[in-house]
């Protein structure tokens, strides 16, 4: 039996009215709350509590962008149905977001400063993009202040910071070898801040929303793994939840893009899919309101939510990284074959040497 949370739910009419004006029906709202409970792996008995918190709390939020491409902002704003994106933006009072806010210049900086000053220890921060540390951080400055200085001040005084996207969490693409700007993720740049990591390129908005909802409902961030990622979203390996997994176990593999196996939806392992190396809930939550995700669309996973993915998950269309120290584009098997050949050649030469060396008496 499914419980009927809305029976137990008494949202005051004022809140409902507000939501209705935004085009969010009671039904949509409850659907959203149950989806959040499901994402967070909470039993449905928590739905009223979630609805209560989401409807009534209105924390301040600032969204900082550093060395980024605004892809995570895009992911948030492009949520196709209005509900999720709207609810997030509406329940939160977004005071600062470079890409979408109306004020600019000093006025914009002032709204940021006001939040930090007036709501110290109470507001939330979302950080997008990596922070350069090299040369005193001059590679990313906003309003004359370095990204590091801004992050230290804003995240250091926040209730909690959510680092979204692989750049903000682990340095991501700016930190890829040779990392010219000395880019790092937020937790490394500001170790003192309370940070939760939501890597991915881009972040999955469902997970971001669920994190915020968890914070509103319980006053704390969800449990994390050793990389600071919430377990509800990053606790399972893509490979283990993949819809193509049965073909892996069977031994049915796509060998070439567009071949028979590819058209049959076989496993993309041999095409370099990094699902076996990546922890994320893409196969279950998917992107764009559950429309699809890379492997469903026929492309292997690139491991974008793992640290150093640009360096260690590439070549993206090969199963294993290139052998370090050996000239590029040498696969492990080529190096292995070379090693075997050298050994065999050495032994053959030795054998010949032995055959032609003078037959002296061994008991000399």
């Amino acid at each position: 039996m499914k419980s009927r949370p809305d029976d137990a739910l008494n949202l005051d009419s004022e809140t409902m009215e507000k939501l209705r004006k935004k085009g969010v029906s009671r039904r949509d709202f409850l659907k959203f709350c149950s989806a959040m409970a499901a994402s967070l792996a909470l039993p449905s008995s928590f739905i009223p509590q979630i609805a209560e918190a989401v409807a009534n709390k209105k924390p301040y939020l600032v969204w900082l962008e550093f060395q980024d491409c605004a892809g995570d902002s895009e992911a948030l704003l492009r949520a196709s149905k209005p509900t999720v994106g709207q609810i997030v933006l509406d329940i939160l009072s977004v005071e600062y977001h470079e890409t979408i806010m109306a004020p600019s210049g000093h006025r914009a900086e002032k709204s940021l400063n006001d939040v930090v000053k007036n709501h110290k220890g109470k507001y939330l921060v979302v950080v997008e993009g990596s922070i350069p540390l090299k040369d005193d951080g001059i590679y990313c400055c906003i309003g004359g202040k370095s990204a590091l200085a801004i992050a230290e001040e804003v995240c250091g005084n926040a209730a909690a910071t959510i680092a979204v996207g692989t750049c903000a969490t682990y340095g991501g693409i700016p930190a890829a070898n040779p990392n010219p700007t000395g880019a790092v993720g937020l937790k490394e740049a500001v170790p003192g801040a309370t940070v939760i990591n939501l890597p991915g390129c881009p972040v999955n908005v469902e997970n971001l929303t669920a994190c915020i909802v968890h914070y509103l409902t319980f006053g704390s961030l969800p449990d994390t793994d050793r990389l600071g990622r919430p377990l509800f979203a990053y606790g399972k390996r893509i490979h283990d939840n993949c819809e193509r997994r049965a073909h892996f176990d069977a031994g049915q593999f796509t060998q070439q893009w567009g071949d028979e196996g590819h058209r049959q939806g076989w496993c993309l392992y041999e095409m370099g899919c990094k699902g076996p190396e990546t922890f994320h809930n893409c196969p279950t939550v998917k992107y764009n309101e559950g429309t699809s995700w890379p492997v469903q669309a026929g492309h292997g996973c690139m491991g974008c939510s793992e640290p150093n993915f640009w360096d260690t998950m590439s070549p993206f269309y090969k199963r294993l990284p290139n052998v370090p120290g050996v000239s590029v584009e040498k696969t492990a098997d080529k190096v292995g074959a070379a090693l075997a050949a050298v050994t065999a050649a050495g032994l053959v030469i030795h054998g010949i040497g032995r055959a032609i060396s003078p037959q002296k008496n061994d008991d000399e």
Binding site: R237, A250, G251, F253, E270, P276, L320, V335, G336, D363
Partner: protein, 217 residues
């Protein structure tokens, strides 16, 4: 001619683990190669080829680990030829014999080596090979721990994930297979070579345990 002494060198645990290792490494290498490069395709989704190959890899892996543990145990409690000290020939005296050994193996000298157990070079080789085995076990269990959460697997290898990125662990686990393969080629060749040159029955010794040492120096 000198008189020949039949000497008991390799005790049962040494011979036993040697052959278990041989079997396991063959199975692990074939299944491991299949895992990285599936060379047989299933005809229907109901088959379980990759599933079975991986299962075989893991069963062989556990067997291999046990075998390595038994051998390490015996290196502490076995006879002098099995002793762990043989693997660390870094004392001055033992290092000095390396020159003579090299001359022998490089066909410069034909004087048989006096060692009953391992030569110094062989000792170093065993040390490196066991380091390779232990690396395979740790890196293997690091990968295994991805789908088997629990203290045991974290202790056996999962901890490595905090130090090496997973794709690199896979790469090194893969490359180590070739390193071990190269060792095996050299190992068999040298055993054969030594058997003929030294006439001490070293090849037979890994079956029977006995070597035939001449007292003549």
């Amino acid at each position: 001619m000198s008189d020949i002494k039949r000497t008991y060198v390799w005790e049962f645990p040494v011979r036993f683990t040697h052959w278990v290792n041989v079997l396991c490494i063959i199975v692990l290498s074939i299944t491991g190669y299949y895992i990285s490069n599936p060379f047989i395709y299933a005809l229907s989704s109901k088959q379980q080829i990759m599933g079975l190959v991986r299962l075989t890899h893991f069963i062989a892996a556990y067997t291999f680990m046990m075998s390595v543990i038994i051998r390490l145990y015996w290196s502490l409690f076995g006879n002098e030829y099995a002793c762990i000290k043989e693997w660390f020939p870094f004392s001055g005296e033992k290092l000095r014999t390396i020159g003579a050994e090299l001359k022998f193996y490089l066909l410069i000298s034909k004087k048989p080596l006096p060692n009953t157990g391992h030569t110094s070079l062989a000792g170093i080789t065993i040390l490196l090979v066991y380091a390779g085995f232990i690396f395979q076990i740790i890196s293997g269990f690091a990968m295994y721990s991805l789908t088997h959460s629990g203290v045991i697997w974290t202790a056996l290898g999962g901890w490595l994930l905090a130090y090496i990125d997973l794709p690199m662990i896979k790469l090194y686990h893969h490359l180590a297979m070739y390193v071990i393969g190269a060792f095996i080629m050299g190992h068999i060749y040298i055993a054969w070579f030594a058997d003929i040159r030294e006439r001490n029955g070293v090849i037979g010794s890994i079956f029977s345990g006995y070597k035939f040492m001449s007292n003549h120096k």
